[in-house]
Amino acid sequence: MIRFGLPLVVFLVVVGFLYKGLALNPREVPSPLIDKPAPAFSMARLDDPAQRVTHEDLRGKVWILNVWASWCVACLQEHPLLVEYSRGGNVPIYGLNYKDQRELADAWLLKHGNPYTASLMDPDGKVGIDYGVYGVPETFVIDKQGVIRFKQIGPVDPGVLRDKITPLVQRLQAQS
């Protein structure tokens, strides 16, 4: 029994691991920032560079941070969805304009629509590094205490928006 049973068990275990491994997405690196305070920043607004927005300004409300750039092809994929979501006016969406040029970013928003309460400029990508950004677009949900509660790497799709982001925002807004 052991003669045939043992190799069979080993084989099944290996198959199990390989099957699980196939289903994993190596691009999805779990962020260590979930449930941690959102990193501090002070960035100039895209529409008015004289004005700066800091993380402190956003304390006390639930907000979404969406990392985008005019050079980012995948951003176009999620953009109509964000524009539509922002029409509901449920939650402020702040854009992190990552490693972009102001004129190009402005033109891009004019062409594709602007879902952002404000876009903040990160021309050298330093804030991006603090937020662990490695693939644009990325989207964070941040709660009233300034804690990151969710991160989407890559474009937001309707399923993620409906099943994850919307319910989470509602739940976080209900908290005091």
Partner: protein, 158 residues
Amino acid sequence: MRTGWVVLALWVSASAWAGQPQPDEEQRLRTLSAELRCLVCQNQSLADSNAELAVDLRNQVQDLMRSGKSDQEIKDYLVQRYGDFVLYRPPVKSSTVVLWIGPFVLLALGAVAMLRYVRSRRRTLHVLPITDDRLEAARQLLVGGDEVSGTQRKDDST
């Protein structure tokens, strides 16, 4: 006497230190970034990759070095932002303990299995004692084998 030893030890270590070439910044950056994973092209290290983010991160690492941060502090800085994933050598944790000790466990299991197999074989070999009868039988077999090969040789020549 004891102070003498201490002085000698200090002198030896100091001369060894002075003899060592001070690793310059470039070398240090290369060594450190070879141990860090590029997140965009995941099978390349930060040192090898030319992805834009890798370049940014290398610059960031260099800035941190210049501000006097140790290698460990720089690694912590990156882990804090990108997770253990940036390290090619993951730290020992409850989630990685299988990764670290797994190979040794398998090696030990293999050794145990091999030992058991060798022992059981030795036991079966010892079960058959050499008696005169068996020795005679073996001799006959050997002689018979010689005859067989002899006939074969004859066959070959015809």
